[in-house]
Subunit: 344 residues, 2 copies
């Protein structure tokens, strides 16, 4: 019996700010389930900053692919429930995650995805937490924070750590991992409410609103003696400020550059990159998807902290698949806190 699915599709490439007018909702008839495939009813689908890069005509070389126009947006993580299975190891009722997002029903092949394994159909161990947590701390968001600090930044005892977009999905986890490791942690975000969240709920040592004045001045005010690690989710003036304030042997984990994703022209990099030479700095870009082998470890560690209440986790949930574009717009405008999710 054929199934009808609702999908969000990109209809034209945004130049500058993305809006719901760049998308459409369509109903499509799904093909019959083939061997090795499962039919999944999605419960939550993800809204990530990096997704904005995939809306470009051409995504950065080597990064995730650009989404084709008027086609399902493959590659966006979702969690749901298996309704029907023709794949070994998957049965009706299983909670799963996969990369066939921004749609309510998906035919998903049970095979390892080509791009680093991201989006591969996987059963969820819901004893660790509810399904949507696998789009957050128990999934790639947690892995991203974990890999960024442990691998890219090579976090060491005594490091003073600055995390930008620290009220975001990845930033809030990264800041807490560092805090739970005994570090002095500074967070920055884009509103007074978020700053209060960082200080009061996450217990960071210092926090500032980047709208409140030049980033460098604000950073210096709370880190007079400099910083050792910068977890970069923002790029632009944040990255420039970090280079200025990093002490000798400092490290930057480059995770994202959300300040630049909606700009139409390539942005010049920091004018003070030479600080890397002067102070023996390491700037390391990374993708969590290149470290999927660490996912069991990050999920175990973060799941334990979640269960014991040591790790706080905030979500902004938008209801209705048709509002996925609105959720993206709100997230890029800095209006959401923690992980942004669409409940279908």
């Amino acid at each position: 019996m054929p199934h009808t699915a609702r999908q969000v599709q990109l209809t034209r490439h945004p130049e500058g700010e993305v809006s719901p007018s760049h998308f459409r909702i369509v109903e499509v008839e799904l093909p019959e389930l083939g061997d090795g495939e499962v039919l999944v009813r999605n419960l939550f689908t993800s809204v990530d900053p990096a997704l904005r890069l995939q809306l470009r005509r051409q995504a950065p070389g080597g990064y995730f692919n650009a989404f084709p126009l008027n086609a399902p947006m493959d590659g966006i993580m979702s969690v749901g429930e298996v309704v029907e299975s023709r794949a070994e190891g998957f049965a009706r009722g299983d909670a799963v995650s996969h990369g066939w997002g921004w749609r309510d029903l998906a035919v998903v092949p049970a095979c390892v995805m080509s791009v680093g394994g991201v989006g591969t159909l996987a059963k969820l161990d819901t004893s660790l937490g509810p399904a949507e947590m696998f789009l957050g701390p128990l999934g790639n968001m947690g892995l991203t924070a974990y890999v960024g600090l442990v691998h890219a930044a090579e976090l060491r005892d005594g490091d003073v750590v600055w995390v930008s977009a620290a009220a975001g999905a990845v930033g809030s986890i990264a800041a807490q991992i560092a805090k739970l490791g005994g570090h002095r942690v500074i967070g920055s975000a884009g509103s007074a409410d978020k700053v209060a969240f960082l200080l009061d709920e996450l217990g960071l040592d210092a926090a500032f609103d980047y709208h409140g004045g030049p980033v460098l001045d604000q950073l210096r005010a709370v880190a007079r003696d400099g910083i050792d690690v910068y977890f970069d989710n923002v790029g632009g003036d944040h990255l420039q400020a970090a280079l200025a304030m990093l002490r000798r042997w400092g490290r930057i984990a480059m995770c994202g550059a959300i300040s630049e994703y909606e700009l139409t022209e390539p942005q010049p990099g920091p004018t003070n990159l030479f600080q890397a030479v002067a102070n023996d700095l390491t700037v390391r870009g990374f993708r969590a998807s290149s470290h999927l082998d660490l996912l069991p470890e990050s999920s175990r560690v973060l799941g334990g902290w979640l269960a014991s209440g040591r790790l706080r986790y905030r979500q902004t949930i938008i209801d209705g698949l048709e509002h996925a574009p609105d959720a993206l717009v709100a997230m890029l405008a800095g209006e959401t806190v923690g992980k942004t999710l669409v409940r279908i």
Copy 2:
């Protein structure tokens, strides 16, 4: 008996291109030798790109200090012969290196220098090579190339390596270390003669003149499948091209940025730094002076290759202390090959 020394001194800070008019030659009477000091007659004094940064009103934070005006230029490496010693472990006739350069006679304290040990008075083992080689492969130039490849770039089997300013003091050694390690090595330089030097004398696999067209196009033409390591002496369009061509897990050893040293305004960084995220790249700045513990190792390795004739080493020697500023101008203009030295 007091001695008279000739010194080159900076009289005003260059804005833009440096010229001999920014310097003066003065005769000064040296103080009496104190306890723990030696009097050295310098034979060769060094001309390094990084010296240009020290001519600025303010040197990059954390880097070597700016030279004060109308004062001896402390910190420039020199080699010479001890004429008189009041320091234990040093005797008349010893060949030594130290940081009291751009002068013919120097009173040098036998103590460890504060800035990472660079410039510390040291006896030379001239069985390894003539004294001036300690301003080249047997000294900091060799260490810089060695540290950049081994430590900063973490050179691995099979890496394709690009070295910019490959006909320069550091670049020519770095290119050869990689070549002797069995790597495919691409060199770039600023003239047809230098390209011939890279191909014919150093035996690199490919080389190009950066004046011959856009750097990225020329690099791509000789590295269709990309590169794994970029040893950066130049910055600017070279760094941008490297980011575009680095394969996954690629590494940049940031050693210098000679293309920017004579510019009056801070230059924007590469517009494609996000490639670091997309391709899991590491950009690591380094200073050889932070790795002086590796100097015996680099000198031994490079000295062995020099002795066996496997390492080629070119010097451009300018005669006469009074021509040190001309030597600097010529080097910055790309008119010298290999290590630029002044013979006093």
